[in-house]
Structure formats: structure tokens, C-alpha cells
Amino acid sequence: MANPANLTVTDLVANDMVAQPVADVIDTDGLVPILAADLGGATGRIVIEVVNGDAVNALDVTVVHGENPPAVREGIGSHVERLAASGAGIFGPYEAARFINADGTMDVGFATVLGVNATATVRAYLLPKAV
């Protein structure tokens, strides 16, 4: 079992459509980054759909606070949400001043409440810069 090296980011296109991408599969507790090259510093345009694949256990999803610099408001801390068993949520977008790392990445963590490995599917979308 292994989580993907990074979350796949699907760029949305203004006045167009994209087929829903294949979801990244999370099968292990831990952090998975969104790469700087995929994010382009645009945490304010990232939206993350998470579906807890565990029908018994809740899943904690943590968008980890960034590093200062550049995230001057990182002291506010991480964004932690608990998804109920089989629950789903749409996360974000996020404030770069709080969540971006020094290398331009953003980290998302997955952990089950009772210590069994996380099972989730994740799709990340990046809205276009301006329409």
C-alpha cells in the first residue's frame, strides 16, 4: 500500500468542460503534497474533493499550515476537518498566506480516527486565474 507521491491537480477551463478525472486513492495515513508546479502558488484557486472510503471509521483531513516565509499567517494553524464514515466534502480554496510552503507546495494529511489506515479518494481542481 502506498499513497500517491502527490495529489493530481486538474485544471478547469473557462467556458469549457473536463471529464471528471480518475481520483487519487489514499490508502495510508500520512501527508500528500500538492506540487508547486501544479499549484502555481494559487492556493486561492484550489478545490479538493475528498470522499472517505471507510464505511466504519471517520477520516481526519488536514490541510497543513505553511511555512513563514512565505506564509506569514501560518501561525493560525492547520485546517482540520473530520469526515464521517463514508462522508464527503469539498475543501478550499485556501489562503496562501496561511497554507503555502516555502517550496510552493501545500500539504494535505489523511488519518483515521481509530488508527487504521485511511481509505479515501481525492480529486483536486484548480480554477482558472480569471474569467
Partner: protein, 238 residues
């Protein structure tokens, strides 16, 4: 059955989480608006998540009014939201005799369609019979019982039989020209039909915004099928 009076807009939460909301269900061809009051006319931050159970199904975002849509002459924005059509590629012995049958309507319903080539003995004429979603092709034979029907003959007969043409189209398989005589084929279902999901938008208000601040979605839905829609709006600034 009836469409909702409007598409529900869910506001995404900056630095937060929105529980996955219930979807609006479009089950009838017609226009459904996204109200200006629900999205403050900020169509550039709207995204639609659409699950389509059939094909051909589409959402056309109608061109806006000028003003405010100064670029409304660019016209409507047509977004085809087709489900995956089931298909069957025959693999008969012999050359140039294989066809690909494709369901006219997409989605899982197409997987119920079956094709049979029946060798009914000497002196038969080519005929296509349809019972429900079962298509039975009776092959033409000569007086000695030799099959005379080619793949091209069958494709033509399928197209000429309304009940069959309403279910499938038939074209030559890759590398086949249709000239080959077919052989009998047991009842075989089409496969691979499935619903499909799409992410639509965001949208250009200067092309699509109505003078009342709304977007107008003209939805085409196959009878008895649906498109389910979740509409999200990103916050103004993060």
C-alpha cells in the same frame, strides 16, 4: 417528473469545508436558470459537477443579454455531457465481415441490448426483428442453405429497421470493408455503457450573463434519464 425551478448554488468556504451537497436532478429537456441572486452574477467563479446517465445529453449555457454581456455575439456555449455508449465489436471467422454496434443512447441501459445472427436454414431473406432490447438478425440464405448476407447488408438492414435503428448503429469494424459474408452468432450483449461525470465551467460573464444576472442552462435529457448537477461558487477572494 419536473426539473427544479433553479440550480442550487453552494458557496465554497475559504479555508474551510463544504459537506458534499445533495444534487439537483434534471430529468426533462428544458431551461433551468442559475439565479443572479444566488451567485451575485459572478459566473467566473461558478463550477458545475454533472453526472450524466445517458447520451445524447447536453447543457447549453445560453448566450447572455447585451448589456451586460458585451460579447454575447459569441453565442451559446454547448457542452455535451454524454454518458459512455455501450458497444459490441463482432469477431467472426472470415474477412471483412465484422461490425461495431453502438448503442444510440449512452449509459448502462445500453448494456441490455443484445445482437443475434440467426441461421434459420435454406431460403431465408435477410430480416431484423426486435423484441424489447434484443435484436435478432435472420441471415439470408440460398436454397442450399449457404449464408449470403454480408456485414454491409446487415448494417443497411439495421439502419432501415426503425425499431433496431432506435437502439443501435452499425458500422464496419476497423480493418473491415463490410463485403465479407457473416456467420451465425449467438446472442451477445453490448457492453461498456456507463454514466459519466464532467466538470463544467467556470464561465465568461461577458458572453453568457443575462440582464437579470442569471445564467440560463438549456438542458437536453434523454427520456427517462437524468443529469444530476451540483453547482459550486468559489469565494470572491482568498
Amino acid at each position: 417528473m419536473a426539473n427544479p425551478a433553479k440550480i442550487t448554488v453552494r458557496q465554497l468556504a475559504a479555508n474551510g469545508r463544504l459537506p458534499l451537497p445533495a444534487a439537483d436532478t434534471i430529468d426533462t429537456t428544458g431551461v433551468v436558470p442559475i439565479l443572479g441572486a444566488d451567485m451575485a452574477a459572478r459566473v467566473g467563479s461558478l463550477v458545475l459537477e454533472v453526472l450524466s446517465t445517458s447520451a445524447p445529453q447536453s447543457i447549453t449555457v445560453l448566450q447572455g443579454d447585451n448589456p451586460p454581456a458585451a460579447r454575447q455575439s459569441l453565442g451559446n456555449l454547448v457542452l455535451n455531457c454524454d454518458a459512455v455508449r455501450a458497444s459490441l465489436a463482432t469477431a467472426l471467422a472470415g474477412a471483412d465481415n465484422d461490425l461495431v454496434f453502438t448503442a444510440v443512447n449512452g449509459g448502462v441501459a445500453g448494456n441490455a441490448i443484445t445482437i443475434t445472427y440467426t441461421d434459420a436454414g435454406p431460403g431465408q431473406a435477410l430480416a431484423v426483428g426486435v423484441v424489447g432490447t434484443d435484436i435478432d438478425v435472420t441471415l439470408e440464405t440460398d436454397g442450399a442453405g449457404a449464408i449470403q448476407s454480408t456485414a454491409a447488408d446487415i448494417a443497411t438492414e439495421i439502419a432501415a429497421t426503425p425499431a433496431a435503428a432506435a437502439l443501435v448503429t452499425a458500422v464496419n469494424a476497423a480493418g473491415n470493408d463490410g463485403s465479407g459474408v457473416v456467420i451465425a452468432m449467438v446472442q451477445t450483449p453490448l457492453a461498456g455503457g456507463a454514466s459519466a461525470s464532467y466538470i463544467l465551467g467556470p464561465f465568461d460573464g461577458s458572453q453568457l450573463l443575462q440582464d437579470d444576472g442569471s445564467l440560463q442552462l438549456s438542458c437536453v435529457v434523454v427520456a427517462g434519464q437524468t443529469m444530476t448537477v451540483r453547482c459550486y461558487q468559489a469565494p470572491k477572494a482568498v
